[in-house]
Symmetry: C2
């Protein structure tokens, strides 16, 4: 089934709000996420229900059908592959790629998607550390820790971020931290859980909140 760009974005929005458990999603929540009006969402829900991509009962909320879920995951796969391409191959910063990937994710060509994935070495995580589902829609399991769980003295590699909001990405970029960078955990303050980091020449302190949003692996 071939959907319009708009329909694709609705599926993706429902997927995100719904979470892995496939919770019921409110009309208002979708409207807010897509920056549109509830009345517009209702129209689209009726349409997506007719196409059997969602399960929807008026006034009761909606969730993705199995078909809808698979479709949404394919868009997500493309989004994250393109983000990886932009960072790894074209040298973009991880805070710059989301908007462009919003466009690229709608390009329709299964062959392109698979070739792109191969070209990138079939990555399992995108530049923000988010998992990239495979062709059949299966998500890889993350093994990485977050920085707040590291131990003093450890040297670690930056694998991604949990929170990929523009605000957080900009903060991290301002600190000079990039994907793959090596960090040394100097110490962890017992009082507030903040972490003193050595990064090349620089040394700085990250709050527990910030460090709990950075994925790392042991070096």
């Amino acid at each position: 089934m071939n959907l319009s760009l708009t329909e694709e974005n609705y599926l993706k929005a429902i997927f995100f709000i719904s979470g892995n458990e496939g919770n019921l999603v409110n009309t208002n929540a979708v409207a807010e996420r897509l920056d549109t009006k509830p009345a517009t969402v209702t129209d689209m829900l009726r349409k997506l229900k007719n196409k059997e991509l969602i399960i929807y009962q008026p006034y009761k909320g909606t969730r993705l059908s199995e078909d809808g879920r698979l479709y949404a995951i394919q868009i997500l796969r493309k989004h994250r592959l393109w983000e990886t391409f932009l960072v790894e191959k074209l040298g973009f910063g991880w805070e710059e790629v989301h908007e462009i990937a919003e466009q690229l994710e709608h390009v329709r060509s299964p062959k392109l998607t698979e070739r792109l994935s191969g070209f990138l070495g079939n990555p399992q995580f995108d530049p923000h550390g988010d998992p990239i589902p495979d062709e059949r829609g299966v998500f890889p399991v993350r093994e990485d820790l977050t920085l707040d769980r590291a131990e003093a003295g450890q040297e670690v590699l930056v694998k991604g971020v949990k929170d990929s909001s523009t605000e957080f990405l900009n903060y991290v970029a301002k600190l000079g931290i990039r994907l793959g960078d090596e960090l040394k955990v100097v110490n962890i303050e017992p009082f507030d859980g903040s972490v003193l980091i050595q990064h090349g020449e620089a040394e700085f302190r990250l709050s527990a909140q910030a460090s709990s949003n950075i994925y790392i692996s042991k070096k």
Copy 2:
């Protein structure tokens, strides 16, 4: 100015029909190229005229304004860069890439375009041998010959095709000729101008018409 995908395709269509000289373009010609109806074209022409992207007088025909021409060339630049990417980096055949590039050409991000160009080594010609305009809209000048102008005994490299219709690309692909391949001109038949080619182990004869549509350079 940000145009819709449809508007962009109209500009590109007018650019192609109009040619380098900026000839007047008929409503019917645009309709045929875009596989739509003349009445629909008239609607769009009025709209593009209001945006000052074309010069248009009812019943008299239309051509691109300077702004419109620059816009069309930017789309063309993106189209040909993406085709180059698909062939060079993802290993697509040159007969497969046009459709995908029709989608990718509409992705809006000047930075992406320039990064992509750099990543590809700022190519001057796409996989079909068509010139890729630079950032400012200037087309490179082609120095290559066509195969019908080669001399017997010469060894040449395939640089592109003049005619990039699906039919011709398929024919060339069927012969096993790919971009960058080396061909040896065994002889040229004086009677009809057909060319006997040696390509690796294979030997075959190309009509004058076919060979006049293949760009080559001396080895």
